[in-house]
């Protein structure tokens, strides 16, 4: 069984649906039509480009190229995490907190999966490494962005309460503890929810894709289970690490709350 190739006309019909959505949003005054069209255009261009990049990578399966591609993915994901926060840390740290956490969790888990679990040779085989890392980064990115956004926003809103605790001699960890827990929960809930409903309510894209391209459903399911577990771990460790680093950064070495280290995003 071979996958049926899609023609440009096929994609154009799907694109018409998005255009219809954008048109509908104009009389409804959603203020979204530009963004819908721009995002749709980005989808088409980015995915076309990545198709070429993947093709080239698969033909030249060298570690240096894979590392380069992985680094580029990480940097873009880091920027996206920063962009999704209403209030973020000023300066290079606004970028580093999320990026470092994603690097720690996504990269180490991808390498573990490639070397120990899937055990492919060479371990950096781009046909496995890049999609795996992509799925991990994408999900970890969402978790970290949700966690960090909650952390900085809540700290900003509850500054009076945090400082009230500091005035009573509480340490910075006591003063931020509840907010930190809430932020981590906020980052983890989506992946926990999707683990609970996967297969019943939702059929994940990766598994669907494998089935469409002719993989036996049983094999596709095994890969999907593997991916879900990796994503859950990656999101969890990444979010915990980012919220932890971020909450530390909200205080200085005298345990003062330093909200001036945050700046309003767009």
């Amino acid at each position: 069984m071979k996958i049926i190739p899609l023609s440009p006309q096929d994609l154009f019909i799907a694109a018409l649906l998005v255009i219809a959505l954008a048109l509908l949003s104009i009389p409804m005054k959603l203020g979204l039509w530009r963004r819908i069209l721009a995002a749709g255009l980005r989808t088409a261009i980015q995915l076309s480009l990545v198709g070429f990049v993947l093709k080239a990578l698969f033909e030249h399966a060298r570690l240096s190229w894979v590392v380069l591609a992985a680094t580029a993915m990480l940097l873009v994901a880091g920027r996206e995490v920063m962009r999704r926060q209403k209030r973020r840390f000023a300066g290079w740290r606004g970028y580093a907190v999320g990026t470092v956490s994603m690097f720690i969790s996504s990269f180490s888990i991808t390498v573990l999966a490639l070397t120990v679990i899937i055990d492919i040779h060479p371990w950096y085989d781009p046909q496995y490494a890049i999609p795996l890392l992509g799925m991990l980064l994408g999900n970890t990115m969402s978790g970290i962005a949700l966690g960090m956004d909650r952390l900085t926003q809540t700290a900003w809103d509850q500054r009076t309460l945090i400082e009230a605790r500091l005035m009573l001699g509480h340490t910075w960890t006591e003063a931020i503890g509840a907010i930190r827990r809430e932020s981590i929960r906020n980052g983890l809930i989506p992946i926990i929810n999707s683990m609970s409903v996967v297969g019943i309510v939702s059929l994940p894209g990766m598994m669907t894709g494998q089935v469409l391209s002719g993989t036996l459903p049983v094999e596709a399911v095994k890969y999907q289970i593997l991916i879900m577990f990796l994503i859950a771990a990656g999101t969890g460790f990444g979010t915990i690490s980012a919220v932890w680093i971020g909450s530390r950064r909200l205080f200085d070495d005298r345990q003062r709350l330093r909200l001036n280290r945050l700046k309003a995003g767009k």
Binding site: T160, E163, M167, L168, G169, T171, R254
Partner: protein
């Protein structure tokens, strides 16, 4: 020297300020709004970045963690913060006599914070702070939202604590009469410095 000693304190374009408060002494502080009275207290409690040094009973703030310093130098802010649902969660075990001195019965501990009035919060915040047994007190308008009867209660409560433990107190108030009642020395804070009056 014992007590609270503030040397060359600078913050947000104000200062340098120097002030010594002896053990058991209460110093009154007043000044136009925006002069930096609250910022001054926050800097002493090491809640804001500042230059200069602050000593309590000969020990400098930098010699201990910020949290430890703020346990010893208690700052009572004008606006109190409450983060749990019930009053009791914010306390260890307040003495019934102390509650009574501030006009509360023991049942207040079971109340939820959301039903407290501003004045009740302010009195309870004073009690909560003193549970730490601080060795210096920085009071920022501690009775601003109170009726005369409760102002009297708070003043007496704080007086008892100050004289009983011989601690240094800085009392900020816009009420000149109150400043005269509670303090022996009074200072006017302007953007140029502290002026004894």
């Amino acid at each position: 020297m014992d007590g609270l000693r503030i040397e060359e304190l600078c913050f947000q374009g104000i200062g340098p300020l120097n002030l010594s408060v002896s053990p058991g002494e209460c110093v009154g502080l007043y000044g136009p709004s925006g002069a930096g009275k609250t910022l001054f207290l926050r800097s002493i409690a090491d809640l804001d970045p500042h230059e200069g040094r602050v000593f309590l009973d000969g020990t400098e703030s930098a010699e201990m963690a910020g949290s430890e310093w703020r346990r010893r130098v208690g700052l009572l802010s004008a606006e109190s913060g409450w983060w749990f649902d019930t009053v009791a969660d914010h306390f260890h075990s307040p003495a019934p006599a102390d509650l009574e001195a501030l006009g509360f019965g023991p049942e207040v501990m079971g109340w939820s914070v959301s039903r407290l009035s501003t004045g009740e919060r302010q009195r309870l915040a004073a009690l909560r702070l003193l549970e730490n047994r601080p060795n210096a007190l920085l009071l920022d308008e501690p009775s601003a939202n109170l009726d005369p009867e409760n102002i009297d209660r708070v003043e007496r409560f704080l007086h008892t604590y100050r004289t009983g433990r011989r601690i240094a107190v800085i009392w900020v108030s816009h009420d000149r009469e109150q400043i005269k009642r509670v303090s022996a020395r009074r200072f006017l804070l302007t953007r140029t410095g502290l002026l004894e009056t």
